[in-house]
């Protein structure tokens, strides 16, 4: 008789940061948890990898935006993660770059910028409104069907509190919030300033990862989401992988078992309740609860559509997750030089989005499945000092408006075009770049999907648009992490509140399943 596997309370599918946060949260509360990762590495989109011998690079995510202080505090990550806010330089065609440092807008050469006040006001508003919404990210979305019951009272109270805080803003800001929350960043910016690098930067910050152009309604909300914990991203030392390492440390210290190279092929379900998983290869692991950090649609397929109502399957098939973002990592032989940027500034974040129109035009191509004429790029050179000792430099670029649904599909030639397009665009600002490249890694959205299980290679596993948020995320009727079959939970970015290296979805899901009593 085959030896039966040790029984766990909870199995987590996928060792991305959300899966790991779920595991750590439950383990801290004394649950026996096993995390199963199909890749050989832990970390999903947030991991580091060895791009060339000895040189570590961030696989996909390279900066922290909605790094959630509450999640970090609960798990005791704060002291383990060394991160610092960094300045942003938005590159200009004419060499008059702009810089956002310590929240203020100036020209990169230090001169005053005429739109500084307008920028500051937009930033104030977006940060304030983002902060208002932030607590919602740490709760299960309100269940409208329990609106009047005791169980729903907590969520209803949260909404009521939100309403109250909104009222505390005073009429002026409250009205402004209600006016702009569903509007588009293009108009919001250009109502206050001429089009240029500042508007371009705001536009780009609103659309990273999204299938939306600056003119698309809903992009202001995306910016609020991004700025909820401050408008400036921070650069973790040793990359986003360091965050994953910290969570893994916490998880392991609490007894979480993490298995890599362990791909789950399906769930075991009896009497409409999960009993465990079956791995590729056939071995089975049993548990009372299975959490999936995959996208909502692949999570449904893993359980099998027969366990879901027809309408639910239809909704899950319709979740929009059309990835628009590629990752290109470059290994350079020498320190790159950017005209108009000082040595001190080179450690910052760079954005190529010289105008809001530029961003919109790039989207206008990509929405039809075409390469943009010129993509929107965010790049950092995260380990300049470390690598410099070995005589190598890393440039980590997020390339926006590279469509998942590329016409003709993603083959090697398409990937070469992605590489060429990225290098061409960067070269306009980094003149000697081409000769300087030792190695290139280009990850298309299709590749990211294959590797991480994120549908469409989408950062958020599903577009963060109003029709896929809160009570309708991932789909109408499934917003509270419980995913159809009893004991099956969604814990990835596809669930509320969405992606970014925040861990909020993983944490909320873990707390919700405890509340639901599925472990008892």
């Amino acid at each position: 008789m085959a030896q039966s596997e040790k029984r766990y309370d909870v199995i987590v599918i996928g060792a991305g940061h959300n899966g790991l946060v779920s595991a750590a949260t439950l383990a801290k509360l004394g649950k026996r948890v096993c995390v199963l990762e199909k890749e050989n590495e832990i970390g999903g989109m947030a991991r580091n990898y060895e791009i060339a011998d000895g040189l570590q690079a961030p696989r996909i995510a390279h900066l922290l935006y909605n790094y959630n202080p509450v999640v970090a505090r609960e798990l005791g990550l704060a002291e383990k993660i060394d991160k610092a806010p960094i300045s942003t330089i938005a590159l200009s065609d004419d060499g008059r770059h702009i810089e956002i440092a310590n929240g203020a807008l100036r020209y990169a050469d230090g001169a005053e910028h005429p739109d500084a006040a307008a920028y500051a006001e937009i930033r104030r508003k977006i940060e304030k409104f983002g902060k208002l919404l932030a607590p919602l990210a740490l709760r299960s979305p309100p269940d409208l069907s329990e609106g009047l019951s005791l169980a729903g009272a907590g969520e209803a109270a949260a909404i009521a509190k939100l309403g109250l805080e909104l009222k505390m803003f005073g009429k002026k800001d409250m009205r402004e919030f209600l006016r702009i929350v569903l509007s588009n960043i293009y108009d919001l910016a250009l109502d206050e300033m001429p089009d240029g690098e500042v508007a371009g930067l705001l536009a780009a910050d609103a659309v990273w990862g999204a299938w939306a152009g600056p003119r698309s309604p809903g992009t202001v909300f995306l910016l609020m989401y991004r700025y909820a914990y401050g408008a400036d991203p921070s650069l973790p030392k040793r990359g986003a992988g360091a965050v994953v390492d910290a969570i893994v440390d916490v998880a392991r210290s609490r007894g979480v078992e993490i298995r890599t190279g362990a791909a789950v092929s399906r769930l075991n379900i009896k009497n409409d309740a999960v009993t465990g998983v079956v791995l590729e290869g056939g071995s089975e692991i049993s548990a009372k609860v299975v959490m999936s950090s995959l996208g909502a649609f692949p999570s449904m397929k893993m359980a099998g559509p027969q366990h879901y109502d027809v309408e639910t399957v239809r909704r899950l098939r319709n979740v929009r997750a059309k990835g628009m973002t590629a990752k290109v990592n470059l290994v350079l032989r020498q320190e790159p030089k950017i005209g108009g940027v000082s040595l001190a500034q080179i450690a910052g974040r760079f954005v190529i989005a010289p105008s809001a129109k530029y961003v919109e035009r790039a989207f206008s191509k990509a929405k039809y499945g075409e390469f943009p004429g010129a993509p929107v790029i965010e790049f950092v050179m995260p380990m300049v000092s470390d690598a410099a000792q070995r005589g190598r430099y890393l440039l980590s670029a997020i390339v926006q408006y590279i469509p998942y649904h590329l016409k003709g599909g993603w083959d090697d030639a398409a990937r070469d075009r992605l590489t060429a397009l990225t290098i061409d665009t960067l070269s306009q600002y980094i003149p000697e770049l081409r000769e300087n490249i030792a190695h290139v890694d280009a990850l298309s959205p299709a590749f990211i999907e294959r590797e991480t299980g994120a549908p469409g290679g989408h950062w958020h596993h599903g577009e963060l648009s109003t029709d896929q948020l809160l009570t309708v995320r991932p789909v109408n009727g499934m917003s509270r992490y419980a995913f159809g079959v009893r004991g099956y939970y969604l814990c990835g970015a596809g669930a509320h509140p969405g992606g970014g290296v925040s861990g909020a979805a993983g944490r909320n899901s873990a707390l919700q399943l405890l509340k639901d009593g599925v472990l008892s």
Binding site: D272, H307, Y308, D309, V310, E311, V313
Partner: protein
């Protein structure tokens, strides 16, 4: 059937109500030319006279054209799983060569439609129903290995119902139906399928064939039955009386198919329609199962009940009162039953009326008599059994007359 007029350009869709494959035959014997629309086809309300047609159902035998009914073939390795995913009962219990009555629900446990499931083979079913289910079946089948074809327009059907129907079949050379039990299905001759089913509660069969053989089928039955066994064609109106006597539901009247109503809260659960016994929670997940568990535990909001109403005026559209002044529901269908000699109705009552509370119900009936309206309060009694049952309908082999 030709839905589009010609293949020549420009193509024009048929604008008119289409004749069914049996229309010419019916038209030839119809005295009153009283037609209405059913799924884009012309079908008879009355062929000659309602009374004559009704009594033919209970006394001789009748032909009713069921060709416009929606017919979907579900075929493939996963066919049983898909059918079980669709309906609330356990389809595995419908054997090959058998037919079963079924209901199916949306995710909230509200009835989408009811109909009959014909099991042609291990992996082949036909679903017959009133509502359009093509896209819904495709949605149901997503992720499963089956093919779904819409046979509505190329497969015609006749319901042969009445005490002499077996005699008619025998005369028509189809005596081998003798051993068919109720709900049996058989390909009696190549291309001709017969099931011992019907909507009248009497002895009866339903015959299906490819539309091109429609006239042949009609002539064969007509020749065998018209002179010898009193076979006549009937329309909807006569059928309506017969089906109410047995208590069969009519979608759109006795319940609102939830996919076609655009107003909220019009859906009803199988429990509320009196079909809770059909729901099989043990067979694994099916559509609406989780919602139905909740409905089962929380209890019904409504009860669809059979009423026996005092007097002889059909209680069409009547409000039902508890006591003299509290409205607790309304009549969904009502007729005078010529066989039971009772004034019968189906009515939807708000719980607990019709469930725990069955006494003290009144129907408010408005009666028009030669230019004057009368309002009548008539006592209404909830009846648990059908108004019409007859052993001949189940007897195998059936009696010859």
């Amino acid at each position: 059937m030709k839905l589009f007029k010609s293949a020549a350009k420009p193509v024009a869709v048929a604008r008119e109500l289409l004749p069914t494959p049996f229309f010419d035959k019916l038209d030839a014997v119809s005295l009153v030319k009283n037609w209405h629309e059913w799924n884009g086809y012309l079908v008879a309300d009355v062929v000659e006279a309602v009374g004559k047609e009704y009594f033919a159902i209970r006394n001789q035998s009748t032909l009713f054209d069921i060709s416009p009914m929606c017919k979907y073939r579900v075929k493939g390795p996963d066919a049983l799983r898909v059918m079980n995913r669709l309906v609330i009962r356990d389809v595995a219990k419908i054997g090959v060569g058998r037919v079963g009555y079924a209901m199916w629900c949306d995710e909230e446990g509200m009835v989408i439609d009811d109909g009959t499931v014909f099991r042609y083979g291990d992996d082949e079913f036909m679903l017959l129903c009133q509502e359009h289910m093509f896209t819904w079946l495709h949605d149901c089948a997503w992720g499963f290995d089956v093919s779904i074809t819409d046979e509505t327009h190329n497969f015609c059907g006749l319901a042969l119902q009445g005490p002499t129907s077996f005699s008619v079949l025998k005369e028509a050379g189809l005596e081998s139906v003798a051993d068919m039990k109720p709900f049996d299905l058989r390909e009696i001759e190549p291309g001709l399928w017969i099931s011992r089913t019907g909507y009248t509660g009497d002895l009866g069969y339903e015959l299906f064939t490819d539309s091109q053989y429609a006239h042949q089928l009609w002539d064969r039955l007509w020749g065998a039955g018209h002179k010898l066994w009193g076979l006549i064609p009937i329309g909807f109106d006569a059928l309506e009386i017969a089906r109410l006597e047995v208590g069969f539901l009519a979608p759109g009247l006795d319940f609102q198919p939830v996919h076609v109503v655009s107003r909220i809260n019009r859906g009803r659960t199988p429990f509320e329609l009196g079909f809770g016994r059909l729901v099989n929670f043990e067979k694994g997940h099916f559509n609406g199962r989780r919602a139905l568990l909740k409905h089962r535990d929380e209890g019904s909001r409504y009860h669809l009940v059979r009423l026996d109403i005092e007097g002889k005026e059909p209680a069409k559209d009547a409000f039902i009162y508890s006591g003299r002044d509290k409205v607790v529901g309304h009549v969904t269908s009502a007729v005078w039953s010529p066989t039971a000699k009772r004034n019968i109705a189906l009515a939807e009552l708000e719980a607990p009326y019709g469930g725990k509370v069955k006494n003290g119900l009144w129907a408010e009936i408005y009666v028009y008599k030669e230019g004057a309206w009368q309002r009548r309060q008539k006592k209404a009694v909830v009846v648990e059994t059908p108004f019409f049952t007859n052993a001949r309908s189940r007897k195998t082999p059936p009696d010859l007359f």
